[in-house]
């Protein structure tokens, strides 16, 4: 088991190195020049001389060969220095520290909510197969995966923010500042973010529970006359959740993707908004480092999922 985990960790590091290579070189493919874009948005380079532009290149290390730039970035990241944002005139580490708590706060809330709701809904749907509840759950799960998330956000703002005035329309407050306000403001964005994961988990749970219910040992348990609660808790729940765990990680990627839109719609200062802005400003340093952090999180979570999956299901061999 330990050897297995170590092996997986080494592979994860290899993957991360490939991630850095991909993100670094793809950013170089972007047409245009971050400094020119920065200056262009600022003023127009009317009276900026070539020498001054060159000075800026040197300042941001953009005059060096790509390989050197890559090395500087990577060695910086390892030492905890992610470089300086050309656009924001700010240390990238500091920018990310501002943004990640926001994204993680919403992300964790959604993660918890979509997993709990998804599992509960999937269970109920399976146990009440063919009944109204099942129909409703199945339907909701289909809608969850078929609505553009930004559009859903705008519809919700309109309906629950403006029309009914139940929730704030936009904005974000850190839970450390004002927990109640934070929760109140989170309702709509978290709903949007969790809908897709919710749908995926519910569908998975439903089919997984149905499969477990058809197994002999569950039938035996029923025939022994155990109460419904006991059968569900002792036999069905545990066994049917194992495959659900594998796809929890998939929901994570969906959620980070969803944040790109949700942060824009609800004016939330998270990483998604930072990333979109930085991609368009071609702010290399920010995009590189932020995607690296996201990829690390996704890869780590998937690693944990894989390991716990094996731990839960003794049938898995560690090869």
């Amino acid at each position: 088991m330990t050897a297995y985990i170590i092996r997986r960790l080494i592979i994860a590091v290899v993957i991360l190195i490939i991630v850095t290579l991909i993100v670094f070189f793809v950013m170089q493919l972007l047409p245009g020049d971050p400094l020119v874009i920065f200056l262009g948005q600022q003023a127009g380079t009317g009276s900026m001389s070539q020498e001054q532009l060159e000075q800026l290149y040197i300042r941001y290390g953009l005059d060096k060969p790509l390989i050197v730039q890559y090395w500087n970035w990577i060695s910086g990241v390892v030492k905890g220095n992610m470089g300086e944002s050309i656009y924001y005139h700010e240390n990238v580490g500091k920018l990310l520290l501002e943004r990640f708590p926001v994204t993680l706060d919403l992300g964790i809330k959604s993660f918890i909510i979509y997993n709990i709701l998804g599992i509960v809904m999937g269970m109920v749907a399976a146990l009440r197969r063919g009944k109204w509840l099942d129909t409703f759950a199945t339907l909701l799960s289909y809608i969850g995966v078929s609505i553009p998330v930004f559009w859903l956000g705008l519809l919700l703002i309109y309906l629950f923010g403006l029309r009914l005035d139940w929730f704030p329309i936009a904005g974000y407050t850190l839970p450390t500042e004002d927990l109640w306000k934070n929760l109140h403001q989170s309702v709509l964005p978290v709903f949007c973010l969790s809908l897709m994961g919710w749908a995926v988990i519910a569908r998975q749970t439903r089919s997984s529970v149905l499969e477990v219910m058809s197994q002999d040992y569950v039938r035996t348990a029923w025939s022994k006359g155990l109460t419904e609660r006991k059968v569900i808790m002792r036999h069905i729940l545990k066994n049917s959740l194992i495959p659900v765990i594998t796809i929890m990680g998939i929901g994570l990627g969906l959620m980070f993707g969803g944040q790109v839109f949700i942060e824009q719609v609800f004016a939330i200062p998270g990483v998604g908004r930072l990333l979109v802005g930085s991609i368009f400003a071609q702010d290399y340093q920010v995009v590189q480092s932020a995607t690296l952090v996201i990829a690390t999180i996704v890869i780590l979570i998937n690693l944990i999922v894989d390991i716990s999956y094996g731990w839960l299901d003794p049938r898995i061999r560690y090869g």
Binding site: A43, K131, T135, L139, G161
Partner: protein, 556 residues
């Protein structure tokens, strides 16, 4: 619901299917009905969304209150001019004032007035610019505005490296504590803009934060200036949360007695216009400063909000690449064909919902440079085709139109494509995100044709100089200035008398139009959207001054 276990599972499935479809369709229908009914004008709205309809115009300004607004971005640099653009300066207007500011009077006449100085004088013969400063102006940090501070600011303007005409400064003298004189190598009538409209920051604050290197371009000072500003303006920076909000509080020692009226201002930074509009309608904000479009003006005006329009606005235009010798836009017939291909009136009407004004020539009718008897090129697609055929494009002239990927520009781009295609062009739209768009326009240049605004300054000579001249403030990279134009530009800046300037501006605008150097489209007026209890004239002076000190609100 009569189902009995496994035996009936088949039937169960089919019943379930029917229910599923039924529910799906009914949810769709309900959703549609909710939204459609919400879309209709409602008479039973919540009291909070109902703007005050009776503005109390008779009563004078009332002090107090916090103005809540929405802007679309924030400053990237707050107080180091070497790295600030127009956007940064405008976000800092509450805190920062200038030696000379633009003004506009009740009749709509515009010009420059001394602001932080009592008076100023420009001597065309002696080639000097003399400022007589006001007494007793304090910065937010308590330091005093004097000749030394002004000299330091002007010096920083020169040192920061990319200021216009910096190479023409001989010396800066401070004969006494309230007088500053700049000596130039030569005269230019653009000095008010270039050297009078100079932001003044606290020297003491800079030097206290610049570290060991106390120079005007100290690295540590620049780093401090990213998110600090110490000016003389009516409001002090309270808090800036990047991409979230910027908060201002009243500056008690402000030099204009009794102002500002507001206790403070809070601007949220929101890019999505639908969200901002909802905030306004829900009463969460008092004013929607930036990011609205003609559709919003129309919708909100009908709902009783205050849509205030000001001259000037942003003139939109199509600019061919005239820099590249191989470009098709070197051929005046192609440039003229573009003018004839477009029905500007209809486009302005439809896209601007009655708010845009179609432009036949470079300058608007109220400005210098407008020529009343200029023969303009009206909508005539046949003529466009003929001209294209003469230029060798019988079978269609392929054009790539670069457009900024923001809704209003995309809309315009689609219409332009429609008209151009109908007149013998063959347009491909290239929607560029903001970065690539401005990077191309101001940096690397555009290949073919671009839709881009130009400015609107205190007078049209200044506008011409900023945008079209051979020594521009905003340099459109693929817009060529032929030698004959360069010669006129050199002549133009030397004219000191107003009448001569007006005549020269006309000559320059006539030249641009007759040569069809660019194709003006329409003016997008500058507007603000707010509740009627907000009293302001903030965009009256154009884009380089916002008089936040004069804004006040009725109790509401």
């Amino acid at each position: 619901m009569i189902q009995t276990g496994i035996v009936n599972s088949h039937k169960g499935e089919s019943i379930k299917m029917k229910k599923l479809l039924l529910v799906f369709l009914s949810i769709m229908m309900i959703g549609v009905m909710i939204l459609v009914s919400c879309g209709e004008p409602e008479e039973t709205t919540q009291p909070t969304t109902q703007p005050t309809t009776q503005p109390t115009t008779t009563a004078g300004p009332v002090s107090g209150g916090i103005l809540r607004g929405v802007i679309t971005g924030g400053p990237l640099m707050m107080s180091y001019r070497g790295q600030m653009g127009p956007g940064d300066h405008s976000y800092m207007f509450p805190a920062v004032e200038y030696l000379v500011e633009p003004y506009v009077d009740e009749q709509g006449n515009r010009g420059w007035i001394p602001f932080l100085c009592e008076s100023y004088a420009i001597d065309p013969v002696g080639k000097t610019f003399t400022y007589n400063l006001r007494d007793g102006i304090k910065f937010h940090d308590g330091s005093i505005l004097d000749a030394e501070v002004v000299k330091w600011n002007i010096q920083q303007q020169i040192d920061s490296g990319w200021w216009q005409d910096a190479d023409k400064v001989v010396s800066i003298d401070t004969p006494d504590n309230s007088t500053v004189v700049i000596h130039f190598t030569e005269y230019s009538n653009q000095y008010e803009f270039n050297w009078g409209w100079t932001a003044i920051w606290s020297k003491a604050a800079w030097e206290a934060n610049a570290g060991a290197d106390k120079s005007t371009t100290s690295e540590q000072g620049i780093a401090w200036a990213v998110d600090h500003v110490v000016g003389t303006g009516p409001f002090k920076l309270k808090e800036y949360k990047r991409d979230v909000s910027i908060t201002w509080e009243k500056f008690d020692d402000y030099w204009q007695e009794g102002k500002p009226y507001l206790d403070g201002m809070e601007f949220q930074i929101i890019t999505e216009s639908t969200t901002a509009s909802s905030l306004l309608q829900a009463g969460d904000i008092d004013m929607w400063n930036q990011g609205h479009s003609a559709q919003d003006w129309k919708e909100l005006e009908e709902k009783g909000f205050l849509i205030k329009g000001y001259w000037p606005g942003l003139p939109m235009a199509l600019w061919g690449n005239t820099m590249d010798p191989e470009s098709k836009w070197q051929d005046i017939r192609v440039r003229e064909a573009l003018e004839y291909a477009l029905d500007k009136e209809t486009m302005a009407q439809a896209l601007g919902l009655g708010y845009y004004v179609a432009s036949a020539q470079i300058a608007p009718s109220t400005e210098w440079g407008y020529i009343s008897n200029l023969p303009t090129r009206g909508y005539d697609p046949e003529k466009a085709r003929d001209l294209l055929a003469q230029a060798g494009y019988e079978d269609g002239c392929p054009v790539t139109l670069l457009v900024q990927a923001v809704p209003a520009s995309i809309d315009a781009g689609e219409s332009i494509k429609g008209y151009m295609d109908a007149a013998g062009f063959n347009v491909t739209l290239d929607l560029a995100d903001t970065g690539r768009f401005f990077g191309s326009v101001f940096g690397t240049g555009w290949d073919d044709l671009v839709m881009m605004f130009y400015g609107m300054d205190v007078n049209y000579l200044a506008t011409y100089m900023s945008w079209f001249s051979s020594d521009p403030k905003s340099n459109l990279a693929s817009f060529a200035r032929p030698p004959e134009q360069v010669a006129m530009d050199k002549e133009a800046v030397l004219i000191a008398d107003t009448q001569g300037q007006i005549e020269m501006t006309e000559r320059l605008c006539r030249y641009l139009y007759e040569e069809a150097r660019l194709c003006p489209l329409w003016w997008v007026p500058s507007k603000t959207v707010s509740y009627k209890y907000v009293h302001h004239e903030i965009l009256r002076h154009g884009f380089i001054r916002v008089d936040w000190e004069n804004v006040w609100m009725d109790p509401h």
